[in-house]
């Protein structure tokens, strides 16, 4: 953008209207959108203030690790830990997302102020406008954005560690909204394993020491220096605690204070706990990452593959067409779930993480529908004048395919992909439920349900609650897909079938 436009923008609005996402839209009369954007934007500074310590430590850990990786690349696998990197991602997300929002907000405002709303009536603009009118689909999209945000930020949002079951005897199978008595300790009883023992042969021992320290703090943040007990009393210098049926003691000196009223408290489980005493809410939050990312990546893979095959079959026709479409027929003849089961069982011994295997299998077994769709679209588009013109000009096949045909068939592909994500999430959950999906202790919605299914009669909440999460996500994706289809295809609007 040129200098003049920036000046114009400055003339119209105050600093706050320009730079705080959402405010400008509220002033311009787009209330709902503006308020939603503003609230979403404010979420990030709010979270930053709420857990600033964790945030700072995440960055410190990241900076130290990056430094060590630069000076000593060979040992990176020793100090890179998945659970620590989760914190990096969340911390980065808190920083990057507001900047992205700020940038998008400014760009859109500039467009609005300069050209009214008429700057470019492309197919996308029209479709977006149509989509926004559809309240249900737009709300579904808002929910999906929030869910993905939650998935990114789950190390900061989850109230407890999703995998630690230190006081399982006391906390197991607590119904939703129930509390247990906890004693506040000076030091966490559980140490994260493997962090302290890091032995690195580098020229920077102090950096390694710092990294170990900060990683330990980061990990123990979620371990909570608490001891959950059924009941307790103080006798002299000892705390006598009842744990299940046994009596255990601990010196009062290990508590945060000597006053029983000060060192005892309660811990509330919003959605209850499972058979190991792990918090269901935290597990659902962590599990959302598996379902949401897996669904998205698998669909990306299957759509790319399906589009490629469809383009080839439709564009080159003849032998390519008949061979590829016969393969599609054969693959469609397999019930998809059987195909997935047989491939996973055949390849489970190879050295690939289970999540990657599942993404690959789900992606490679669901592209057939897309390729049929794309082939049909290509067959109709390739006879149009602009394609013939491009061919007459002597353009290569690759260029015609990517520049002339693909852009014209993109909308049905996008709509179809959105509608597919829900289905893929359901299949992934089913695999986890059959216990061949994501392996415990990594939480996924499917395997939380699996773990709770044998305790339906005495702990209904374990299996019930993650199911609601799945339903909400799939319903939202389906609604959004329907909305996109209606938006891209205005002819359908009159007759919503």
């Amino acid at each position: 953008m040129t200098e003049i436009t920036a000046q114009q923008l400055r003339g119209f609005h105050s600093w706050a209207q320009r730079n705080i996402p959402g405010v400008g839209f509220i002033v311009l009369g787009r209330r709902t959108f503006g308020i939603l954007l503003l609230l979403y934007f404010l979420l990030f500074p709010f979270l930053l203030l709420l857990s600033f310590g964790e945030f700072a430590r995440s960055f410190e850990s990241m900076a130290l690790s990056v430094f060590l990786a630069l000076v000593d690349f060979d040992h990176t696998s020793l100090f890179l830990r998945g659970d620590v990197m989760e914190h990096w991602v969340a911390a980065l997300f808190i920083i990057v997302m507001p900047i992205v929002l700020w940038h998008l907000n400014r760009r859109r405002l500039r467009q609005l102020v300069l050209d009214g709303d008429e700057h470019e009536l492309s197919q996308w603009t029209l479709a977006w406008r149509e989509f926004k009118k559809n309240r249900v689909a737009a709300s579904a999209m808002v929910v999906i954005i929030l869910l993905y945000t939650m998935a990114f930020l789950c190390p900061f949002l989850a109230p407890f560690n999703p995998n630690v079951f230190e006081d399982g005897l006391v906390t197991k199978f607590k119904p939703p909204l129930s509390s247990v008595t906890v004693l506040q300790l000076k030091e966490p009883r559980i140490r994260s394993i493997g962090i302290e023992s890091l032995q690195l042969d580098t020229d920077y021992p102090s950096v390694v020491r710092d990294l170990v320290l900060v990683n330990k703090e980061l990990m123990e943040e979620n371990f909570s220096a608490q001891w959950a007990v059924d009941a307790f009393r103080v006798e002299g210098a000892q705390v006598m605690a009842t744990v299940k049926d046994s009596l255990r003691t601990m010196p009062v000196s290990q508590m945060v204070s000597t006053d029983p009223d000060e060192f005892s408290g309660t811990r509330t489980y919003l959605l209850g706990t499972d058979g190991y005493g792990r918090d269901i809410l935290s597990r659902i939050l962590y599990g959302s990452r598996v379902s949401l990312s897996l669904g998205f990546i698998a669909v990306l893979l299957s759509v790319s593959l399906g589009t490629f095959v469809g383009l080839m079959a439709g564009y080159f026709g003849r032998y390519a067409d008949s061979i590829l479409m016969r393969i599609v027929d054969i693959l469609l003849a397999f019930p998809a779930l059987f195909l997935i089961l047989i491939i996973i069982s055949a390849f489970e011994s190879i050295a690939v993480p289970r999540v990657v295997l599942i993404v690959l299998v789900l992606g490679l077994t669901s592209w057939m529908g897309i390729s049929r769709l794309v082939r049909g679209e290509v067959l109709s588009v390739k006879e149009r004048e602009f394609v013939i013109a491009a061919r007459t000009l002597g353009l290569g096949h690759a260029r015609i395919l990517t520049r002339h045909i693909l852009p014209n068939i993109l909308t049905p592909i996008i709509v179809n992909a959105t509608l597919r994500i829900g289905g893929i999430i359901l299949v992934e959950a089913a695999l986890s439920f059959l216990n061949i999906g994501v392996q415990p202790p990594t939480a996924s919605w499917g395997n939380i349900i699996f773990e709770g299914k044998d305790y339906l009669s005495n702990a209904w909440w374990v299996s019930t609650l993650p199911g609601f999460a799945i339903v909400v996500v799939v319903v939202c994706f389906n609604l959004m897909g329907d909305g996109l289809r209606d938006a891209f295809d205005p002819m359908l609007n009159n007759e919503r079938l």
Partner: protein, 321 residues
């Protein structure tokens, strides 16, 4: 007509052939040596080599392929690792159970789906229409296994109305025939419902669309103008045409039902092919897994074939030659 049927059957043959080839290459691509599944520990390498020779694993790939194909076509599916029985015998015991479940689910799917579709199409825009549409959306977005668990929780455990799992009660063998049947029906209600309800929601949606399209056509207006009763107009004139696309769904819904059977049979401990497959996978019982996959593939192909033939019979516009 006969010629059409013969031609469709003939075109299913390469599909079956492709299915067999595909299955063969999946096993060959899988890492690991099949012989190592039979023998364990420190066995004499010569013994393993002899076994490999005996099983024909040292033959060139095309020879192996032809031999394997011959076995499959003649019905020699081999011996199950985990169950110590012929795969064909095991399948013969479980396939009827799955077919029972799938057939009733298919019926449920179409009867309920068509009824819902007709009601919502005729009362388009009404409260009923909206309620059915929203409910369908939720049912369609629900994991089958979760719905099953929730029904077990509500109907079986809390209300104690229906049995939670299995196909027969423990003492069912000693019951008189009618009670035996009633016992079976009680065990079938929940699995059939769970298996059929999601596809019923989808069928309902298609039926609604299809009927709406037909209702707006001229010949329906003509029928109304002639003074025919609404029942006759919808039931005879409109339904005949609206049902045609639904028949295609019959073939399309089979893979979903068979896939769903894997889940539903596991949830309800139904002794069918789906549960067998899952058990076989955990036992790494390759011959059984391959056989289950093949049988389900064949079922889908046959189902599609039947749907196509039915389609041609119902719709006179399709030419047979």
């Amino acid at each position: 007509m006969l010629r059409y049927i013969i031609r469709r059957v003939m075109s299913a043959v390469p599909l079956l052939f492709g299915l067999l080839t595909f299955t063969f290459f999946i096993i060959r691509l899988a890492p690991g040596d099949p012989v190592s599944l039979y023998i364990q520990g420190d066995v004499d390498p010569m013994f393993a080599e002899n076994l490999r020779n005996a099983l024909g694993l040292n033959d060139p790939l095309p020879v192996q392929y032809v031999k394997w194909l011959k076995g499959m076509v003649t019905g020699e599916l081999g011996m199950s690792f985990s169950k110590h029985a012929m795969v064909t015998d095991i399948l013969a015991a479980t396939i009827p159970n799955t077919l029972l479940l799938t057939a009733f689910a298919l019926m449920f799917n179409f009867v309920i789906g068509i009824i819902l579709g007709v009601i919502t199409a005729l009362r388009r825009g009404s409260a009923t229409d909206h309620i059915v549409n929203v409910t369908s959306l939720f049912v369609y977005s629900m994991p089958e296994f979760w719905l099953g668990l929730m029904l077990i929780l509500g109907v079986s455990l809390h209300l104690d109305l229906l049995p939670a799992s299995g196909m027969h009660s423990a003492m069912a063998r000693f019951l008189p025939p009618l009670d035996y049947l009633w016992d079976l029906i009680q065990h079938m209600i929940l699995p059939v419902f769970v298996l059929g309800v999601a596809s019923a929601a989808a069928t309902g949606r298609y039926m609604r669309g299809s009927l709406l399209e037909v209702i707006n056509q001229d010949y329906i207006r003509t029928a109304r103008a002639k003074g025919l009763s609404e029942l006759l107009v919808i039931g005879k004139h409109a339904m005949r045409n609206a049902l045609i696309p639904i028949i295609t769904l019959l073939g399309l819904s089979l893979p979903f039902l068979l896939g769903g059977a894997v889940i539903v049979e596991t949830v309800f401990a139904w002794p069918g092919m789906g549960k067998l497959t899952v058990d076989a996978i955990f036992a790494r019982d390759y011959p059984l897994i391959i056989a289950c996959t093949l049988v389900s593939g064949v079922m889908v192909i046959v189902g599609n074939l039947m749907a196509d033939i039915l389609y041609a019979m119902v719709d006179p516009r399709i030419r047979y030659d």
